[in-house]
């Protein structure tokens, strides 16, 4: 079956959700990934939205933003932003999704600005809840378009902390997060239009876990701003099943998010 790159990204994102997990659902593709996971392998997962919302069923209509009226209908709890991010601060949210404009080999994300902090070349919108999700969720899943200027050796500004950087006190990775005082977490996976990366917790470095059908390790390297390290079991990404595609297309029949 034919599918679009974004449909494959939604499938890869949904596969990160384990049944029964509490998932902090981000904008755009994660809205669909949550619906797909609910209707396939993770019927008992629960979605948490930063507007202040918890629901355990997908919305009945396609969502353009998490604040759309259909997302509030049938919610388990409509409350405040502090209450739901507070749950994450307390360590109760297993998985969080975010996107970014730039990412580096240690999973640090930039959504604030390109260029110099005081005289930016491009001012991006900023964190929203992204930096909170990156700081506080037990596992972080990142979804981004794969372009060389976006996957950089080092980002211009760390909006959302990943695994930091090696410095005189020690290596990047989980050790860096502990050094700066982050309570847990870190990037588990980076899903792009070309590939899926996982991370080495000891060094914090991204590992190429799989390349999407039609792509290759060489192409991924060309579009990535750091020398790739491969996961020991690096392979081609498992394509979407017909069932996964059927559910996605039911949720997004006009391809608003997936065309």
């Amino acid at each position: 079956m034919e599918y679009t790159p974004r449909e494959l990204m939604v499938v890869c994102a949904a596969r990160q959700i384990r049944d029964g997990e509490r998932v902090f659902v981000g904008m755009r593709l994660p809205l669909l990934a949550f619906a797909l996971a609910k209707r396939t392998h993770a019927p008992n997962c629960v979605g948490i939205f930063e507007t202040g919302l918890i629901r355990d069923t997908p919305a009945r209509e396609l969502l353009y933003t998490m604040g759309d009226a259909p997302n509030i209908c049938g919610a388990l709890w409509a409350t405040s932003t502090i209450n739901v991010i507070g749950l994450m601060a307390a360590g109760e949210i297993e998985l969080g999704f975010i996107g970014g404009a730039e990412i580096d080999r240690y999973g640090n994300l930039n959504t604030s600005l390109i260029g110099d902090w005081q005289q930016p070349r491009v001012r991006l919108p900023g964190s929203g809840g992204g930096a909170d999700i990156a700081s506080l969720a037990q596992r972080l899943a990142i979804i981004m378009p794969h372009e060389r200027h976006r996957l950089r050796e080092r980002v211009d500004f760390v909006t959302s902390p990943g695994y930091g950087y090696p410095n005189e006190q020690g290596p990047a990775g989980v050790a860096w997060r502990q050094r700066v005082g982050l309570p847990r977490g870190g990037p588990a996976v980076l899903i792009t239009t070309l590939a899926v990366f996982t991370f080495d917790p000891a060094t914090g470095e991204a590992l190429l876990q799989s390349y999407h059908p039609g792509s290759s390790i060489e192409q991924v390297q060309e579009e990535t701003g750091w020398p790739l390290r491969l996961a020991p079991d690096c392979a081609e990404t498992v394509p979407p099943t017909p069932e996964e595609l059927r559910v996605i297309r039911e949720c997004d029949p006009h391809g608003v998010w997936t065309s």
Binding site: I72, I82, G86, G126, D132, G181
Partner: protein, 304 residues
Amino acid sequence: MSKLLSMTEAIRRYVPDGAAVALGLALEPCIPFAAGHEIIRQGRRDLTLIGPISDILFDQLIGAGCVAKIQAAWVGNVSEGLGHCYRRATEQAQPRPIVTEDHSNFTIGLALRAASLGAPYIPTRSLLGSDLARKNSTFLHASSPFDGSPLLLVPALQPDVTILHVQRSDEDGNAHLWGSLGICQEAMLAARQVIIVAEEIVSREVITSDPNRVIGPSYKVCAVVHEPWGAHPSAVQGYYDRDHQFYHEYHTRTRTAEGFQQWLDEWVLGLKTRQEYIAKLGSARLGALSVKEHRYAAPVDYGY
């Protein structure tokens, strides 16, 4: 005592030049666009805008030259990403330079919560290790006095005025708000004064029939404005859904400063009141956004 005022009068009295104004606090829904447009028409200057994400209203106020400073987590267009006016102001100081103190959604909420509690700050572990934590000079890094662990101290932030768009209010400012609440309640409790903008004005009895749904104490409310469709193009649960197309059009038309000025002339400066704005939207567009199927909550019993 009735606090009902026209939008013109409410903004004239309670949003002076230089004020720190919190608005757009429910994130994507219930953004007080009508209030923002009146601020632009009255030519306010040197405002500080406080909010979590801002879905194009901050961009409009910045483009119109009303803003000196931003204390927010995100300034852009949720449908499209970038905010063109925010970019021009930050990158090129057009139409004037602005200062941004970057927050996350959690830290801006904590800053308001701290003010609402009379606390000087609230500590968090969010943002530790990020440039966000380092570059916002209002934050302090500290160690927990209990166990020595690293903390980020988020100082209290008190808006001069918080503007909330709600479904319904009585004339005294006892207001019902439902749906996801974002940081509305924190911003109301933190503010020196509050302007309530309501889709409907109802009797005190309607409000007091369900006191759990009230967003905050009406003694903080300085003005109540009756402004149906006052949050368009954002959504108001039970009244209308988000007008996604409007956000796309805004994004396309405001790529250049000239394009923004034309958009502003057409949708803000060329219209004297919200009634003219609603007439310009037209009944077909309003009809498409209106509630198609009412979904009432079950009544609750406050009896004894």
